[in-house]
C-alpha cells in the first residue's frame, strides 16, 4: 500500500516535479521513496513515475518504481494483489523466474505476458501505472470496487496522474478551482459523480477501468462492472443451507488471503455484525493472536462500545479503543477535509481518522474491516425504507402502513411523534412514481438537496437547469431497468456512494492519512459476484437485513451480535462544533465577509444557520447537512484555493 504519481509527456524538470508530487502524498508511504524518469526517444513522449512506500509485502526487496528484467517496463503500484501467491506459483510452474518475493513483480510479469487482460486475473485492491517501453505507452488501472484512488489531469498536452489530487497541485501552472457542478453533486449525492472531482479539470479513473495513454492520446476502457440478473430470471432459493455454506466458504477465503502480509494485520470492531464477522474469521486464522481496534463516543446515541467489548471478550483478542469527543471531531475537521479533498456533508470521516491514528500508535499498519457488507448483502436502512415505501404505495392513504417508517428509525427521535400521514409525506410514500430509477434514493437525495437553500443567488444562476440526480440517471446502464428493485437500489449504492464517499472520504483517505491500509473481505469480487446471484429475499427478508449472511455465520457469533439490528455509523455533526474553541473556529471559517467574498453561499443565511445550530441540541437533517456542507466547502477553499484567494483579496 502506498502512493504513486507520474506523467506522460514532456516536463521541464522531471526529477524535481516527481519529488514534489511524492512529497505531497508522503503520508501514504512513510517507509520508502523512489522515482524513475524515462527520457523521450525519437517521437515518443517522456514518462516519469514517483512512488512513496508503505512496506507490507516483500519488505526488503520490493522497492518501487520497479523495472522489469530487461528494463522495458516500469511500475508504480499502490495496493495489494491478494492472490499473488497463487499467481506466482502458476507462473513459476510455467518457467518464469522472479527476483523478489512480493506482489509487485508478479503484477509486472502478468502485464508483460497478458497486457491489459492481466486485470481479470487479479484479486486485489490496487491502482497502478506501468510504463510500457515496448509500445511507448502508459497503462493505468484501478481495482473493481474503487478501494484505491487514482486521479489525473492534463496540462499543455502532458498527462499527470496521482493517488491524491494534492500531488497534482505540484504540476507547474496548475491552480485549484472548485467545480460548481461537483458542489451541486455533493449537496445532492454526498460526493461528485466520477469521473468528475471537486477540482475543475481533474478527473478520477473510475473503478473497474483502465487507461492507455500514448503520443496519440488516451483511451479508457471498462474491464469490470457490477451486474445483476434480470428480475424475471430471479428465482426463490431452493436450498438455503447450500447457499449459506457457499457464502461462508467465499468469506473465509476472502479473509484468509487478506491476512497475507509480512507485518501483523489487525481488525476493526464497530460493534455491528459485519466487522464482528471479519474479526471472528481473522481471529481463527491469525497465528499470533489478533489485535482489534474501536472508536467510542461520549453520546449514547453514537456509542457502541458495549457491543465492541462483548465481541472482543467473545474472541479473546487484544482490544484497543480510542474515544472521539465532539471537540476531537471539530479539531480534526480541517485535516479531514484536506485529506478527503472534497466538501463533506457529514463529520463521520473524522472519527475514522482518529481510529487510524490509534492503529498507527499501536504499531500496526494493516487492518481488516467490515466495509462493503451493507452494500453487497443489503444492510442499509435505505433498502428497507424503499421496501416500506413500495408497500405503502400499494395502498395509498393507509393509516397503518406508514407506521413502519417509525420502526425503521428507532434512533431518530423526531420521527417517533409523527402521525401516519406525516410519515407517508416525509418518505414520499404517496408521491414518488414506482417507475423512477432513483425511487429508492429519492428521500435521501431530496433531504440532502434541501441544503442547497444556502447556495448564493450567483451560484444558483450558474447551476440553473442542472440537476445532479438527472446526471446520475444518465450514467445508468441500459440493463438497469430490468433488475429487481432491491438490486437497483444496491447498484446505486455500490456504484456511486461507496467509491465516492464510503471507501474514499471515510475509507482510504482517512486511513492513509496515518499510513494505515484497510482491507475489506466483503469486497472480494468473487463474493460480490456471488451475492448478485442471490435472490433478493436472501439479502433483505421482510425487514430483516443481511439475512443469509447472518445465517451463514451464526455459529461464530454471540446471539446479541447475530440478531442485532443494523445501527448506522454516525457521528455528531453540527453539534460537534458547539464548544467554545470550535465556535471560534467556525466563526473564523464562516466569517460573513469571507463567505460573501467567495460567492458560493448566501452569507446572511449562513450566519443565521450558525446561530441556529449553536443554540440547538438536535438540529434537523437539513440544517445539519447544510452546516457541515457549507463549513467543509469554505475549509476546502481555504486549503486548496488559498493562494489564489489571497492574491484576489490583495488585488
Amino acid at each position: 500500500m502506498c502512493g504513486l504519481a507520474g506523467y506522460l509527456g514532456n516536463v521541464a524538470e522531471p526529477e524535481r516535479l516527481l519529488a514534489a508530487m511524492g512529497d505531497a502524498i508522503a503520508h501514504r508511504g512513510p517507509d520508502g521513496r523512489g522515482l524513475n524518469v524515462i527520457a523521450p526517444e525519437g517521437s515518443a513522449p517522456g514518462a516519469g513515475l514517483s512512488h512513496v512506500r508503505l512496506s507490507i509485502v516483500g519488505l526488503a526487496d520490493s522497492a518501487q518504481p520497479m523495472v522489469s528484467e530487461y528494463g522495458e517496463l516500469a511500475i508504480a503500484f499502490n495496493g495489494e494483489i491478494f492472490n499473488y501467491v497463487e499467481l506466482r506459483e502458476e507462473l513459476v510452474a510455467r518457467g518464469y523466474r522472479f527476483r523478489t518475493s512480493g506482489d509487485t513483480e508478479v503484477l509486472l510479469k502478468l502485464y508483460e505476458i497478458y497486457g491489459p487482460e492481466c486485470l481479470c486475473r487479479l484479486n486485489g485492491d490496487f491502482a497502478f501505472a506501468i510504463w510500457d517501453g515496448r509500445a511507448k505507452r502508459m497503462f493505468i488501472a484501478r481495482d473493481r470496487m474503487g478501494v484505491r484512488p487514482l486521479f489525473y489531469t492534463e496540462k499543455a498536452g502532458t498527462l499527470y496522474f496521482a493517488s491524491e489530487v494534492k500531488a497534482l497541485l505540484a504540476v507547474p501552472g496548475f491552480h485549484a478551482a472548485l467545480d460548481p457542478l461537483a458542489l451541486d453533486q455533493v449537496f445532492t449525492l454526498w460526493s461528485p459523480i466520477a469521473p468528475r472531482t471537486a477540482f475543475e479539470g481533474v478527473f478520477e479513473l473510475e473503478p473497474g477501468n483502465y487507461m492507455i495513454a500514448d503520443a496519440s492520446g488516451r483511451r479508457i476502457s471498462t474491464y469490470w462492472s457490477l451486474d445483476f440478473p434480470d428480475a424475471v430470471d430471479v428465482r426463490p432459493e431452493l436450498n438455503e443451507d447450500d447457499r449459506a455454506a457457499q457464502l461462508r466458504h467465499l468469506l473465509e477465503d476472502a479473509t484468509r488471503i487478506r491476512l497475507r502480509a509480512d507485518v501483523p494485520v489487525g481488525s476493526c470492531l464497530s460493534g455491528g455484525l459485519d466487522s464482528s464477522i471479519v474479526a471472528a474469521l481473522a481471529a481463527e486464522m491469525a497465528p499470533r493472536g489478533l489485535d482489534t481496534f474501536a472508536i467510542t463516543f461520549d453520546s449514547a446515541e453514537h456509542d457502541e462500545s458495549s457491543f465492541q467489548k462483548l465481541m472482543a471478550r467473545h474472541l479473546g483478542v487484544k482490544h484497543h479503543e480510542i474515544n472521539c469527543s465532539e471537540a476531537d471531531i471539530a479539531a480534526a475537521f480541517p485535516d479531514v477535509v484536506r485529506l478527503a479533498e472534497k466538501p463533506l456533508i457529514r463529520t463521520a470521516p473524522a472519527p475514522m481518522y482518529r481510529l487510524s491514528s490509534l492503529i498507527r500508535e499501536t504499531g500496526m499498519k494493516v487492518v481488516l474491516t467490515g466495509e462493503g457488507a451493507d452494500e453487497v448483502f443489503a444492510g442499509y436502512d435505505l433498502f428497507k425504507e424503499a421496501q416500506v415505501r413500495r408497500f405503502c404505495a400499494r395502498q395509498p392513504g393507509s393509516k397503518f402502513r406508514p407506521h413502519l417508517f417509525r420502526k425503521l428509525y428507532p434512533y431518530l427521535p423526531g420521527l417517533q411523534k409523527q402521525s401516519a400521514e406525516y410519515l407517508a409525506a416525509f418518505f414520499g410514500a404517496d408521491a414518488a412514481p414506482l417507475s423512477d430509477p432513483l425511487f429508492s434514493h429519492r428521500p435521501r437525495l431530496r433531504g440532502t438537496a434541501a441544503a442547497k437553500l444556502f447556495f448564493s443567488a450567483d451560484l444558483k444562476s450558474r447551476l440553473a437547469g442542472y440537476d445532479a440526480a438527472d446526471d446520475m440517471i444518465a450514467q445508468l446502464p441500459e440493463r438497469f431497468s430490468r433488475w429487481h428493485p432491491l438490486h437497483q437500489a444496491q447498484y446505486l449504492e455500490t456504484r456511486f456512494l461507496m467509491p465516492g464517499y464510503i471507501l474514499s472520504s471515510q475509507g482510504d483517505r482517512m486511513a492513509m492519512g496515518n499510513g494505515v491500509e484497510g482491507r475489506f473481505p466483503f469486497l472480494d469480487h468473487r463474493l460480490v459476484e456471488f451475492a448478485t446471484t442471490l435472490s433478493p429475499s436472501m439479502k433483505l427478508k421482510g425487514l430483516k437485513e443481511k439475512y443469509l449472511l447472518r445465517k451463514s455465520m451464526a455459529d461464530k457469533l454471540p446471539a446479541e451480535i447475530t440478531h442485532r439490528v443494523k445501527q448506522p455509523y454516525r457521528a455528531p455533526d453540527s453539534r460537534a462544533f458547539s464548544g467554545a474553541v470550535a465556535q471560534e473556529q467556525v466563526h473564523a471559517v464562516l466569517n460573513p465577509s469571507r463567505v460573501a467574498g467567495d460567492g458560493l453561499f448566501n452569507a446572511a443565511a449562513v450566519d443565521k444557520l450558525v446561530q441556529k445550530c449553536a443554540g440547538q441540541s438536535a438540529p434537523s437533517f437539513r440544517d445539519d447537512t447544510a452546516f457541515i456542507g457549507v463549513l467543509s466547502t469554505q475549509m476546502w477553499l481555504d486549503i486548496f484555493q488559498g493562494t489564489n484567494r489571497r492574491a484576489s483579496e490583495a488585488a
Binding site: 411523534k417 444557520l609 438540529p619
Partner: protein, 88 residues
Amino acid sequence: MSESIKQTIRSFIVENFLFGDEAALPGDAESLIAGGIIDSTGVLELVAFIEEQFGFTVADSDIVPANLDTIDAIAGYVGRNASAAAAA
C-alpha cells in the same frame, strides 16, 4: 385576522426555515414538505412555535399534513383553534 396569522407564519418560516431568504418563500398553497422546507424535525419546530405564539396546545392527532403542510392550512388550523382557546 386570517391575513395577520398568515403573515406571522410566513415570517416564522422565512426566519426559521429559510434563514431570512424571502425569495425562497413558497406560495400559500404550496407543500412545505415537497419544497424541502420542512422535515420531521421541522414539523416539531413548527408545532412548538404555534403553541407558543398562539397560546393553545396542538393535539397529537392534529399533527398531520392536512393541518400543517401549507401556509393556508396552518392559518386555517390556527384560526379555528386560537379562537376556540380564546372563547374557552
